[in-house]
Structure formats: C-alpha cells, structure tokens
Homo-oligomer: 328 residues x 2
C-alpha cells in the first residue's frame, strides 16, 4: 500500500492537504441557523471562516440576540422570530434552540422549507428531540438529528467562536435505515468542514452514552457545588478561598446554562437516572471502604481510573498539561 | 489615613513593592525538605528561585527520586533515607511525605533537630497528622502543621515547578495558643515568600473545609470515572471519544496519585463521610426532581451555583477563560 510507505512528515502533509480540501469544499449554498447562542453563533462563525456556505442566515426569537449578531457581523441576514423567508431558501436548516423548544420551532418552520432540504439540530438529547420533531416532518425534506460534543461554560452569541468544533466529535442520529444517503453524506461533510469528526449511532445509544460522559457529570457538579454552598459548618468565603484543591473544576461545569441543563435532564430522564443510580451505588461502596478502613479496595478502585485519562489525552480530547494548562 | 488617599495605581505600586520585599526577604538560613515528590520538589525550586534560604537540602527514601533530584540540580545536598546531619543544621524541617508516614518520619528526625528549629509539614489532612507527630515532639522545637492548597494531577520530583504556590492559599494550623509567635511569623513569611497567602485555623476546621473543597470532590471524581468505565452498556472507547462533554474534567482529578488520596480519605474519615452523606442527600433530592418532572426545583438549584464560580474567579483562584483556556 502506497500510503503506508510515506514517512511521518509526508503523512502529516498528506493529512493536511486532505483537511484543507475538506475545509475548502462547500456543501450547501444557503444555511439557516435557528437560535444564536453559544452553539448557533459558533456554527455561524465557523461556516463563514471555513467557507461552508454562500449565504448564512440566522434567526432568533430575542431582539437583543439579533442585534448582537448584527453587530458581530457573523451572518448575511438576521431575522427576529419566525424566519420563513430564510427557511424557504435554505438547503440546511439547523435548529440550535434549547431541547425543550425543538418541536415547536420545527413545527413552525417545516411548512416553509424547500423540497429536498435538510433539517438538523444540535440538541444534547436525541431521543426526545426526534420524538418532538417527527410528527411535523414532511416526506420531501430530510431530517437528521445531530449533536456536536463541544461547548464551554458560557452562553450567548458573544461566547461563540469558530474553532469550537475543531477536533471534537459530532454525533448524527438518523432515525432509521430509510435515511437519504446523499443527505447524510452532505451533513457529515458539513461537520467535517467545521473541523469535527462524525460518529453515527441511534438516538437511544446517543442518550445513554451522553448521560454517562456529559449529563451525569453536569448533574453531579451542580449537586456538589450546591452541597458546598449549603454546608453550615463551612463559610462560602472558605469555599472560594480553598477551591484550588479540586472544587474549582466542579464550579466551572456547574456554571453552565441552568435552563439548558434543566431541559437536558428532564428530556433524558431514563438514561440520566440509570447512570446516577449506578454512581450512587459505587459511591456508597467507597464510603463503606472508608468507614471500614479498607485501603486495599480504595486503591484498587483509584488505580483503574488513571488509564482512561491517558487514553483521553492520547485521543486528543484533552490537554496533558497540569491543571489543564491554567496560567496561574 | 494616608494609604486610603492613594490612587489605584499608586496603591498597586505600593503592593508590588511590599510583595517584592517579602519575596526578597530570607527567613531561614537552612531548610530541609523531607520527601521530594510534586510538593517537596516545588518547594525546593521555589526556595532557590525566590531566595528563601542559603542552604536547601532534600531527603527521600527512594534512591531513584534522590538521583532525579540530583540531576535536576534543585538542592544543595541530597540524602537517601534518614537525613540526621541535614536535620541537625536546619532552621526549618518541612515534611512532604504521604500523610500516613508523617508520624514515623517525624519520630526519626526530631531527636536530631537543633533547639529552636521549626518543624512543619504539607499534609492534606491536619487533625490526623498532628495526632501522629505530637507524641514525638520536644519542648525546644516549634511544631506548626501546614497545608499549601496547590497541586496538579501529576506526581514525582519532575512534576514540580517553582510557581506552584503563587497566588494559592497555605493553611497553617498551630495546635494551641501556646505556639511561639516568632516561629509562626517566620513560617508565615516563608510561605508568603513563595507567593502564597497564609490562613491560620485549627486542624479540625481545616479538615472539614478541605473535605468540602478538595477531598470529597476527589472522591466523587474517582467514583464517577470508575462508574463510567464499568458501565456495560457504554464502551470505554465511547467514554474516551465523547469525554469533551464534561467527563474529561473528572478524569483529570481522578488521575491524581491514588496512594496519597487513599491515605487522605482514611485519615480524614469523619469529615469526608459527613460531606459525602450531605452530597448523597442532595443528589437524591435532584434525582427525585428529575423523576417527578420538577423543573422549578432543578432550575432553582442550578441558578444558585453560578454565583460561587464568579466569586472564585474574582478571588483569583481560577481562570475565567472558557474551558479553563484549553488550547483545543
């Protein structure tokens, strides 16, 4: 095989060339981003920066968000509220509103969409979103739900940036085998053009995997920060002062958008509760080991968690620098 | 009051001048650092860089650690095993061994220490360490336990760096009112010279505060990473791929030294179990809210945790950059 004979440097160049080509390819003429918070505005910026569409339109129900988007200059057109005219032109309509609002927004826009267009979304929960949107679908548009696994603790259009999706995974969850392959390929290329890797799975699998890697970690962080704030024997001032011992990492996660996360937990109830129950069982076992002075059991448990960190760093999903490479 | 009339810029200059003076002052002629892992080697580097002693000696029971320290050139002398000769010269002996070994190490070195010298430590638990060391104390040396709230997920002498303590808190826990004020001032100045702020409290208060801000966060991170790794319905490969959704932050904390943390949990058993129980209660309440679709309660809980994040950033205890300012 010819590629196998390339040296490391050549291989890297070859990869770069491929990546440039993908980034340079334009998958859609016209895109409408509905809802312009952290994710929506990052998509808008990335689409412009990586040349992924000729026209990029944005709509949002908030007047304030619309005027921020306008002043940021990240869209070719901005509509407050319904965006029927933009929806009628778009080859891709991508819903970036909170999970709980997906059904309503889809119901309003689908009648305006042009035949053959693709409808997608970025919701953190897939089973519930698919259930909300499905009753409103038309036979002549292609619905493929999606979820870019990327984000920060900040919200709003100012918080977005074009590189948010770079080297992150985006999960697409086509609902059944009947999905149009050309549409799925186009959407895959679109996300690859924004720098992501694409994984395809069922909505149900997505929801249990994400409950484990994202939803329950957030629930636990919110809980722990609340517990610390409520401890009568420890002042809030002390919690702030001594947070560098580990607590501050939890406060970052627990600073994420509360409304969005409430919706996520309620929409992904079954999987979230399943993982939380497993977690409480495991924590209870470690509690018991501490109470009974069982150092062996603690050590055995702690040692096995180190390997997974190494694999996450090797997979390019986190920085290997100490304390995430914080300045201070 | 004269200071109050200074303008912001002048005040800053005044502060800087004070900080330079403190950093420049040499508190001790000779220091012995016992145990040269992440913390011990960071103290050694900081002492040299900030000119905090004329002579800085290191001892460690591991031959390998001693030869690494020698090749790093961060000490004026290195002793493998007992360090009676260095202990006899030192004005400050600072124990940086795992919490469980503090008593044994102190018992061996205290007889060699010179009259008037200070004995301190960096253990993450204070009640238990004080209990271990107290029976071996002499009337003519000053024992003041301490704990710098700083660290990374890495271990060993190579992982240390001089700025580890900069802008971090160091807690000193003098055991009773009879503590020698001159010794306490000297140790305070020493830590300030390394860039830290010093807080003074009882060992018991330290242990409950740190159980909240550090020990339980670590226990929870270890537990969650273990739960995820054990989930039969989710592959380890998926956990790695999709870790950017929140999970990766937990794996960093859960990558910390397992032996040290086992010792910490066992030594601070009472406070750890108290905080864990509170946490499980709170998590159970949120679980119930999710099960009963009580969005109000979830939102109320999540909203109150945001404020504490803001205060931690304002207090200089964390970076305000998105995702801790990670590169990717």
């Amino acid at each position: 095989m010819k590629t196998a004979r390339l040296k490391a440097g050549q291989l890297l160049d070859a990869c770069r060339a491929r990546s440039d080509r993908v980034a340079g390819a334009m998958t859609f003429d016209t895109i409408l981003v509905v809802g312009c918070g952290l994710i929506g505005s990052s998509i808008a910026r990335a689409v412009k920066l990586f040349g992924q569409a000729k026209q990029l339109y944005v709509s949002d129900h908030s007047e304030n968000v619309c005027s921020v988007v306008q002043s940021l200059g990240i869209a070719d057109g901005v509509a407050e509220g319904s965006a029927h005219l933009y929806a009628a032109q778009a080859d891709l309509v991508i819903l970036c509103v909170p999970p709980a609002r997906m059904g309503d927004v889809a119901a309003r826009l689908i009648p305006s969409m042009k035949a053959g267009a693709i409808l997608s979304d970025v919701g953190s929960v897939k089973g519930d979103v698919v259930k909300q949107i499905t009753p409103h679908l038309r036979d002549d548009i292609h619905f493929i739900a999606g979820h870019p696994i990327a984000g920060t603790e900040f919200s709003g259009p100012e918080a977005g940036f074009a590189d948010l999706f770079k080297d992150r995974w985006c999960v697409l969850t086509p609902s059944d085998e009947a999905v149009n392959k050309t549409a799925l390929n186009a959407l895959t290329q679109f996300w690859e053009g924004l720098g992501s890797q694409v994984a395809i799975m069922t909505p149900q699998r997505h929801d249990i995997v994400l409950a484990t890697t994202s939803h329950v970690p957030h629930l636990i962080a919110y809980t722990l920060v609340g517990t610390a704030v409520d401890m009568e024997t420890v002042t809030q001032n002390e919690v702030v002062k001594f947070s560098a011992g580990g607590f501050r990492d939890f406060t970052r996660i627990a600073a994420s958008d509360p409304v969005m996360w409430r919706d996520v937990f309620l929409a992904n109830r079954v999987a979230t509760l399943e993982v939380v129950d497993r977690f409480i069982e495991d924590l209870t076992a470690l509690k018991r080991a501490i109470r009974w002075d069982d150092g062996e059991q603690l050590l055995e448990h702690f040692a096995k968690t180190r390997d997974i960190r190494r694999r996450i760093i090797d997979a390019g999903q986190d920085s290997a620098e100490a304390n995430f490479g914080r300045d201070e």
